[in-house]
Symmetry: C2
Subunit: 368 residues, 2 copies
């Protein structure tokens, strides 16, 4: 098999996670060796049974069809070993080995806020979702959601209206985005952001795919903002996953007479941050600092002889903790004692400033 | 001076607190000795200067006028040394030495929920305040508030509409309840609950009286529920005092577009309990337990030979901690390790069951 076909075989391996691919790469010398590996080699790896079976005898015709589809639609397969694989996603325990991406791959590694909510919002909820997303996009955040009807769609629309980028994570193959009502929106997202899925083309939007999809929405993002959600709602699953992944959870309160505020109120009871304004989110994520640092940059060049503009204390701590050997966000959280979302957003700042570089597996290292 | 005039002299002593009266009673043999005490005796007591000056030379004409007013209007002066002095209020550090009470004194020692909010509520906020208060009154809680226009008035009205009792705590003398618009409401509260003030008749509703008044609203109550409040609002002072006094703070969320929800959202950020329904409050206050215990009482008489109906574990712990020597709520909190509002509500249950008795100074002791 050629390289691209090997990658396509790996991408199709059911349930294959980033950590499986890392282990395989270490054992076999390189990740690509996993496609077409011998039965003995595969047996020695701790892989999901279905993935092992597929990798032992991948369906060549199917892979060939995938390749043609990829080329025709400009879809990329992004493996966790690639430098562009989103570092925040790489930091979660069950990150997928590969993502199918249609659109701008770089959007995935940009600072994202996930916004999710009910498919049946109130008029006010829909307006708020749109307005919040537009403001976040203007502030430079990528808005990530699930392309569902209702709040999800309003968030994508708002981000695009704000002149920003949006990412839609699907629970089906990228060949047939679900729901069909949002096919036009999906095209516009692919043109200003990205459509993302871990499911290969041809995967139907099965109910059981969505909780798994939700971990990617939160995993890609610095935090999850729930705008309106009923008490039992997929949005609450996304929020719970975000909490487990160490990401911020935000909720917009509402009238006690609005059933679609119940889910948000339940999250607030569990400790979610209450959001009245866009700034509430930016402050909690440490992003005013991001904007401030960036806006200082062109006006205040480093003084002669100085290594660079003076850094705030947490940035100094973080840079001190970073060596020239790439380190993951988890490791940096351990080393610095700083909260995980702060570390993530500070790394983005430092990367934008050209002080640090992003390495495969979502790890960072100093450049100078 | 006669006894009643001595009490009236003590009640008028500016800034005299319950703890001052206790110290004086211990030093002089009995609390009444404070009125007309010698300059030397007064000098030996740690009293506020204004109180000392007044007690040294009380204005007999004024006291006589107070006496006539008390008799004409059926107002009682309730000293902290009286058995009816509300035990929850006695537990706060700056409990007043005396209260003027018009109406049913026993209401003061009943389980109360304070409900407060803005003078300029939304239509929905006013409706919610009324509906919540009516339900609390039906559940047996006395609703305590400040007689202000807006939310306060709606809460008093709701409690009365629910066939329950209400307490209005004033920041002026009981001779001229403020605001005059609520004079009719004040009369109805005096007939089904009580009007309460620590300020003597003739005291104008000065701005500076209200924060001081607010500590009584929270101090009398198991918790404070804020229905609607602007970001800068007297209701937030009451909520803060409630927190300092170890009482529960509750807030009703609302639309992010309603300026009168801002105060509630600020409280929720600070850890107040989010309230969507009446049950949210009753559960947090342990009062479903109160209702359950009471409803068991008539149907399930104690078995022959048993000391009484079986008690839940926290009640057993509390009864074990109670001796025949009266103990304050603070002491019982120390002895049992149970949270203060729970101890307070359990004591009310045990008193209603006839297991314990209320003693002067808000202290409790076992009866058998």
């Amino acid at each position: 098999m050629e390289t691209v076909e090997r990658w396509l075989a790996i991408a199709r391996a059911p349930g294959l996670l980033a950590r499986h691919l890392c282990v395989a790469a270490a054992a076999l010398g390189e990740p690509l060796a996993l496609a077409g590996a011998s039965a003995a080699d595969l047996a020695a790896l701790e892989l999901p049974e279905a993935a092992r079976r597929w990798l032992h005898a991948p369906d060549r015709a199917r892979i060939e069809a995938d390749r043609r589809w990829l080329e025709a639609r400009g879809v990329r397969v992004l493996a966790c070993t690639a430098a562009e694989y989103p570092p925040l996603l790489a930091a979660i325990e069950d990150a997928p080995a590969c993502l199918y991406v249609r659109g701008e791959v770089a959007a995935l590694a940009s600072a994202q806020l996930a916004m999710v909510g009910t498919r049946e919002p109130s008029a006010a909820g829909r307006r708020d979702a749109y307005a919040f997303a537009r403001h976040f996009a203007r502030a430079g955040l990528v808005v990530t959601s699930g392309l569902a009807l209702g709040i999800d769609a309003a968030c994508h629309e708002g981000a695009l209206a704000g002149g920003g980028r949006s990412i839609a994570v699907l629970g089906c193959g990228l060949d047939a985005p679900y729901p069909p009502e949002n096919a036009g929106l999906a095209e516009r997202i692919a043109a200003a952001g990205a459509l993302v899925s871990e499911f290969p083309p041809g995967t139907a939007p099965l109910k059981e795919n969505f909780p798994r999809r939700n971990r990617l929405i939160s995993g890609l993002s610095l935090g999850v903002l729930v705008v309106e959600a009923a008490r039992r709602s997929g949005s609450l699953i996304t929020a719970r996953l975000a909490g487990n992944q160490g990401r911020e959870v935000f909720a917009v309160p509402g009238s006690i007479h609005n059933p679609m505020s119940r889910g948000c109120h339940a999250l607030l009871r569990q400790g979610a941050s209450l959001v009245e304004t866009v700034d509430d989110v930016l402050e909690e994520l440490n992003l005013p600092l991001l904007k401030q640092e960036l806006s200082h940059q062109p006006d205040h060049p480093p003084e002669a002889g100085a290594a660079g503009p003076a850094l705030d204390k947490p940035y100094e701590i973080l840079l001190d903790a970073l060596g020239f050997e790439p380190a993951s966000i988890d490791v940096l959280v351990d080393r610095t004692g700083l909260p995980s979302p702060s570390v993530a957003s500070m790394l983005l700042v430092l990367e934008l400033e050209g002080r640090i570089g992003l390495h495969p597996g979502g790890r960072y290292a100093r450049l100078a």
